[in-house]
């Protein structure tokens, strides 16, 4: 479907990533509204993989920042693509810290953050090369909630599942058998 959005519908890749990242951030705020967070500071850890899902995570982090959260990004394997570098710069310029190291002592992560946004893997596969496998190993041990972005629904066992795809034209939804969804008001996400 992404191919069709890019080729037939002529969406730009950066445009799509911006739309997805923004929608993901909105979904996060619905699942974890600011007043509901257990920690004193609204901290979130955003783990970004090297591919497109990681870029979506970067955009998501930036929007979360503007919504009043305090995201911290872990982006160990950076894509050399100029597009992804620009997304990184935008985050840095919003004073979003980038972790140089993800501790293996999970207690530290549980203590520091309210939740984790997992933007490590997309459609590529359930196991990636290092350091993805190591990150995922650590994330599995966490007690704080994890929000996974996009395609990895086969791993999903959690409580809240959102669909962030309001921008997908109806014709394409029908073609790919995504049932029509009613999005409330002008929201870009809907709870499933």
């Amino acid at each position: 479907m992404e191919k069709e959005l890019l080729e037939d519908y002529r969406f730009g890749r950066q445009q799509l990533i911006e739309i997805w990242g923004h929608a993901c951030a909105v979904a996060v705020t619905k699942a974890f509204p600011l007043p509901s967070l257990p920690r004193r500071q609204p901290t979130l850890l955003v783990a970004c993989g090297p591919a497109q899902n990681g870029a979506i995570g970067l955009v998501c982090a930036r929007h979360l920042r503007s919504f009043g959260y305090e995201p911290t990004i872990f982006y160990p394997k950076r894509s050399p693509e100029p597009l992804h570098r620009d997304f990184t710069t935008q985050c840095e310029k919003m004073d979003i810290p980038f972790l140089s190291y993800l501790p293996t002592e999970v207690q530290l992560i549980d203590d520091a953050y309210n939740a984790v946004v997992d933007a490590v893997l997309g459609a590529e596969g359930s196991e990636g090369p290092e350091p993805c496998a190591a990150i995922l190993g650590t994330l599995r041990l966490l007690r704080i909630p994890i929000v996974s972005l996009d395609e990895v629904t086969r791993r999903f066992q959690g409580r809240r599942h959102f669909l962030a795809g309001r921008f997908v034209p109806e014709e394409l939804q029908r073609k790919f058998g995504i049932g029509p969804r009613h999005y409330p008001g002008s929201d870009c996400v809907v709870a499933l």
Binding site: R10, G12, A25, T29, E70, P97, S100, G185
Partner: protein, 306 residues
Amino acid sequence: MPGPRALLGLGLLAAAAAARAGGRCPERGWSWGRGWNRSWGRERGWNRSRGWERGRCLPRRAMHGPSAGPGPAGLRFLGQEEAQAIDQELFTEYKFSVDQLMELAGLSCATAIAKAYPPSSFTTSQPAVLVVCGPGNNGGDGLVCARHLKMFGYQPTVYYPKRSSKPLFEGLTTQCKKMDIPFLPEFPTEAAFIDELYGLVVDAIFGFSFTGAVREPFGSILSTLERVTVPIASIDIPSGWDVEKGKADGLQPDMLISLTAPKKAAMHFTGRYHFLGGRFVPPALQEKYALNLPAYPGTDCVLQLT
């Protein structure tokens, strides 16, 4: 526990231990205690103190909402050159792309319209909206707005007489067409026809870069729009207005959606709804230009100013 600095530099282990005991940030000489990521006696958000995440303390900045420093409490209205400078900085320093910001801007416009003119409020049988797009970026904002309006349940129709050949604009046009948004081959000749067919007009003709005389076909279009009685929502600047001085005998829109920050022309706006949109200005840039933007509500991408 082995020496924390040996393991991670100013890493997590050091911070975790220090957080319990209280410690000092070596570079800046600041100290932190329990609740170490709370700013020291100042408002929340004044300071990002998790310097261990970068191996150093972060410089102090006003991170949320309006600048916490002294200065005018009121929202600033920008001159044309300032608006252009901020735009430039977003692209060159902050590395935003036109695509990204245009998408967010267009979404803001559609959202503001949805708040002020919900589909149920239309007296026409369908919530029909005419979106008039100019040749430049303001027109691009209009194309994005039209697409989002369609998704929000409106029936937009676009008039886009002078189309840019740049891939961005061709892409936006295709996206609209693929969503079954019709493009008019001609502009309605009479204001009365527009009043009959549409419940709202979106003016996306000229933006903050507009100077000089209005070239055809936009002169005639604006004359017609000036006689329209249905509400007009202008994107960023009512088209035809001087970006700083306004235009007393020009278009009088019912709604203005100022993008990024309002321009001086907005001081001459007398319509019912003034919204702020374009929620993408990084705090550092807001501070640099002392924009004094009020806080957006929750996750909304628009803020109603009046």
